[in-house]
């Protein structure tokens, strides 16, 4: 079709969608909508993962982000009863400044990020690396230490959230 392979089509569509949804996250007035758009973005990204042969990661991504994190967000928003369309907005000037600086960042980044291809970086690995087996091997050999220490991270987050979340006993 039009000289593009299916993968390329899929990549194009998913990219477009993810960018659109991402923009919607930023621009929706209602926080709940934002969350929903974010979930959609994440789905698109998961799709991209699949295109990159990272099947396991795609699944984990859906589970962790869309399943856990986003639900958490939604839960908190509901808890705070922020499901409104009239939430206070930043002054237009601020928005413009934010947009302009973001745009500038984009321009300079795009300007300076070129050159991946011409340097002959091409795929030379197998497409099997994204499989659970492969990942498991790497994770528990090379990355054993970070894996273990990540438990500390999670513990810390756990303890921290509990401590903060607890009602002050007076």
């Amino acid at each position: 079709m039009l000289g593009y392979t299916i993968t390329q089509w899929l990549f194009g569509i998913l990219s477009f969608l993810s960018i659109m949804f991402a923009l919607m996250v930023v621009f929706s007035r209602n926080p709940v909508n934002s969350i929903l758009y974010l979930v959609l973005t994440f789905f698109c990204i998961a799709g991209l993962y699949l295109l990159l042969n990272a099947q396991f990661l795609a699944v984990v991504h859906i589970v962790v982000y869309s399943g856990a994190i986003m639900v958490l967000f939604l839960f908190v928003i509901m808890l705070m009863n922020l499901n409104q369309d009239n939430e206070p907005q930043r002054a237009t000037l601020n928005k413009i400044i934010a947009g302009v600086s973001g745009g500038m960042l984009l321009v300079v980044l795009v300007g300076s990020l070129k050159g991946g291809e011409q340097l002959g970086l091409q795929s030379y690995g197998s497409s099997q690396i994204g499989l659970v087996k492969n990942l498991g091997k790497v994770l528990f050999s090379e990355f054993l230490f970070p894996f273990e220490i990540a438990s500390i991270l999670l513990l810390a987050a756990l303890v921290g959230s509990i401590m903060i979340g607890k009602k002050e006993i007076k």
């Binding site: 990020l113 011409q118 513990l155 509990i162 903060i164």
Partner: protein, 463 residues
Amino acid sequence: MKGLLIISGLGILAMLAEIFKFKKLLFPMVLLGVVAAYAFNFMEWKTGMSIPYFDNMIGFDKLGLAFSGIILATAFLWFILANDYFEEETNLVDHFALVLFALVGALMLTSFKNMTTLFLGVEIMSIPLYVLAASKKNDIKSNEAGFKYLIMGSFASGFLLFGIALIYGATGSFDLMQIRAFVSENSTTLPMFFYVGVVFMLIAMLFKVSAAPFHFWAPDVYQGSPTLITALMSTVVKTAAFAAFMRLFMVCFADVSAVWTGILAGVVALSLVVANFSAAMQNNVKRMLAYSSISHGAFMLMVVLANVRSNLSVNALIYYSLAYSLGSIAAFGILYNVTRKGNENIDAFNGLAKRNPSLALCMAIAMLSLAGIPITSGFFAKYFVFTAMIGTQYKWLLIVAVLTSAVGVYYYLRVIIAMYFKKQDTHEPLPIEKSNVLVIVLTTAATIAIGIVPGIVAEMFSF
């Protein structure tokens, strides 16, 4: 390495303390644990072991051990200082655990060998601190501090990650040594985005060490956080961040220094100006110390800038960290005691010389040390920086440094003037807890001692 394990274990132990009801024992245990960690650390340093652990994920070489030593020592002093702070707080155990976890992160930052450990170290150190900063639950300022710290920290993490990703993309590895080797082998064919990655990491690290223009979080967070947490941030966290900074840029990215030294020079100059000029305008002492910390950070950055991979600058950075940590611990310890009533403005210090002369003296020494007056350690720290800088092409930075240092003296002296010159309504003596006295006196004495005999420290590290 053993130190890291001990501290991690201690953290977990602390969590268990509540369940198994040995809260009373916890404090001595923690102290003991930190001492033990320090002892192991010291022994490893003595024997010169530099074994890379876990597939080069982490490796305590001499440099890392030196910084770890400073961090552990500061932490030890901090724990003593925090003794009664924990008694006040209800969530004693959580605090202990969080501080210890943050310490784990800090230790990782001194000795990471891989981008993964760097990233995890940064986060392990930061996340507990977000919580700790917000730990005064009913104090909206504390909440705000934690919140700001978190948002901006995460934002910076994004840049760190982006940088890591780009570097990974260009070199195909997360390992520092491999990256370095790759860079030196393919120096001409590196894609542009590798350099962007370096710059992004630089930006993220500059955020962590709070250099202008990425410093905005620091004053607010320092001010809002509970004083002792601020003390922790400005000592342990700062030291760790600089250790990481140095390892990353003086070791890993040394070969591409052309990319980042220019930026760094500009950032240093900007930080010096912004920090000192803003500090001069502060009435809140904590805020003032925050700016002071930015200014000291700029000095330490100068060392990084000065001479890539030279013993001189490594020494300078270690000495500077130590000197600054000592001065800060003393200053925050005193601040903590003086501002117990809630007034954190400089007039809280009014008439301190009358109310508690020895405390005032210690504060004066700490201030003089931070201002860099001989024979305090702060002077030698500055001296080492100057010495390192004078041989570089960035001599103009020295002029900026000198001029802004003079501004710096202004706000340090303000505290001294307040203590010795201004009148306070009350003349009742200001009582302090014995343990705090111990820490304050110890740090002050050490400030003078390593100021008089800097050789003790400076000659210790011959890399």
